[in-house]
């Protein structure tokens, strides 16, 4: 129990994290909006028209950040879940649970924007391309995680079961990714292949990076908001929650 790392995690208890998160949320929202506005400005007004894809390519400015975030958030979620399983800290499970819906949203957005982009570019909403397929499976993994946690009533049990699933998933995501890639490239004659965007102009790269930052800040902000709600739900009957100013009625 004297392990400093454990001490640190004990310090990160729901009780002390709740007000801290409350203070951080506005900052992340501000950053998200600022990056978002800058990114949108570049994506619509600075970035030039693509000579091959016309204006349609502008979908890239949300498609790629969403796709990146969907993968990144899964790793973060699994990280928190694993910490929770190893050190038995309450907050980590809540973090994992708070991240999952946002990750699923990002996965959905990458699917949605990709599908919509596919229609004008490939003439089909969907093709069974390696990257598309593995994005779809990632979405299923998120849904599985959420469904499993929703189906278990005892929150601590839900945390632990979810953690095992997330860890198994983390091992599997690369396996799935490469297997799908192999499957697709070994196979001759896929009728369409992903038209790689031409070497990206620096403005486009900037736009994408700014949008990615915005998505990142957004994800943090929303996850923090959700984790606060989860903390309240789970700790409803502890003394510190009863003594919160917003419940004592002083602030409202």
């Amino acid at each position: 129990m004297n392990n400093p790392i454990i001490q640190w995690f004990k310090y990160g208890s729901p009780q002390s994290f709740y007000p801290l998160a409350g203070k951080m949320i506005p900052w992340f929202w501000t950053l998200a909006v600022a990056f978002g506005l800058a990114g949108l400005w570049i994506s619509f007004f600075v970035a030039p028209t693509d000579f091959q894809q016309g204006e349609g390519y502008r979908i890239i400015f949300i498609h790629v950040p969403a796709a990146w975030m969907s993968m990144f958030l899964y790793i973060v979620m699994a990280f928190w879940a694993g910490i929770g399983l190893a050190l038995n800290t309450r907050l980590s499970g809540m973090m994992a649970q708070a991240i999952a819906p946002t990750g699923a949203l990002m996965a959905f957005l990458s699917l949605w924007t990709g599908a919509i982009w596919g229609k004008p570019m490939w003439g089909a909403w969907w093709v069974w391309d390696a990257r598309l397929t593995s994005a779809l499976i990632l979405f299923f993994l998120y849904i599985g995680f959420i469904a499993l946690q929703a189906a278990i009533d005892d929150p601590r049990r839900a945390d632990k079961a979810g953690a095992i699933l997330a860890l198994v998933g983390v091992v599997n995501v690369p396996i799935i990714y490469f297997s799908v890639k192999w499957w697709n490239t070994l196979h001759q004659g896929a009728s369409v292949s992903l038209t790689r965007a031409p070497s990206m102009a620096t403005t486009m790269l900037w736009g994408m990076l700014l949008m990615a930052l915005a998505f990142w800040m957004y994800s943090i902000a929303v996850s923090l908001m959700r984790v606060r709600a989860i903390i309240l739900e789970r700790e409803a009957h502890t003394e510190w929650v009863k003594n919160l100013p917003e419940i004592q009625g002083k602030s409202s």
């Binding site: 909403w125 969907w126 299923f140 469904a147 697709n184 896929a190």
Partner: protein, 221 residues
């Protein structure tokens, strides 16, 4: 009549409580459909050809998986005994349960099918026929399935035995349902297939609740 509504309400309430059950049946449908391209390969011409068959087989399997839980929980906890003993005729209660089963498993499949059709690159006309065929076909699946669920109630290995009994009975629905879409695509018109499907449905509406009730009584003896 109020007993039917009461039991539909009850089953829907139970379904809401186990929300995950309804949702996961849906996702099962989606996942099974998505597995086929993975097994078969990504050529879209080939995929378009097998799409109606694959979607129908998946719908069939998704309905079937839920069937095991149509009567089993009520049987296990003794509620079914109480239903048999209740003054309301068992046939009515059974009809209510079948309707609730369709609302929670069949209807969502119908609503979701177009999205999956798009993944297989079907055009709008074909999607319409697909939805229509499923709208006629899924209640048929629930009705036939209920007979199987009642027959295998409390029988060892019920779950898998159930599929063994029910799948052959599902064959006509599958042939006419998938056939409707295929013959539309090949330009023959889907009318014939759809009306056969409707006729089967009408037959099942009269016959299935009776058979199910009889089977339930036997299971409880």
């Amino acid at each position: 009549m109020s007993a039917i509504i009461a039991i539909i309400r009850r089953d829907l309430l139970l379904a809401m409580r186990r929300k995950s059950e309804v949702l996961t049946a849906l996702f099962f449908f989606i996942i099974v459909v998505s597995l086929f391209p993975l097994g078969i390969g990504p050529e879209s011409a080939l995929l378009r050809k097998i799409a109606p068959g694959v979607i129908w087989v998946a719908a069939l399997l998704a309905t079937m998986l839920g069937l095991a839980r149509l009567f089993a929980p009520d049987h296990a906890d003794g509620t079914l005994e109480q239903m048999v003993l209740s003054p309301t005729p068992l046939g009515l209660l059974v009809t209510g349960k079948i309707v609730a089963h369709w609302i929670t498993t069949g209807l969502p499949l119908v609503l979701l099918a177009p999205v999956l059709g798009i993944q297989f690159d079907l055009d709008t006309g074909a999607l319409g026929i697909l939805v229509l065929a499923l709208l006629l076909g899924t209640p048929l699946l629930s009705l036939i399935g209920a007979i199987g669920a009642a027959l295998t109630l409390g029988v060892r290995g019920g779950g898998v035995l159930l599929s063994l009994l029910v799948l052959p009975l599902y064959v006509p629905a599958l042939i006419f349902g998938a056939g409707a879409v295929e013959s539309h695509i090949s330009g023959l018109g889907a009318g014939g297939h759809l009306s056969l499907l409707a006729a089967l449905l009408a037959l099942a509406v009269f016959f299935a609740p009776w058979a199910t009730t009889a089977a339930l009584r036997i299971a409880l003896e």
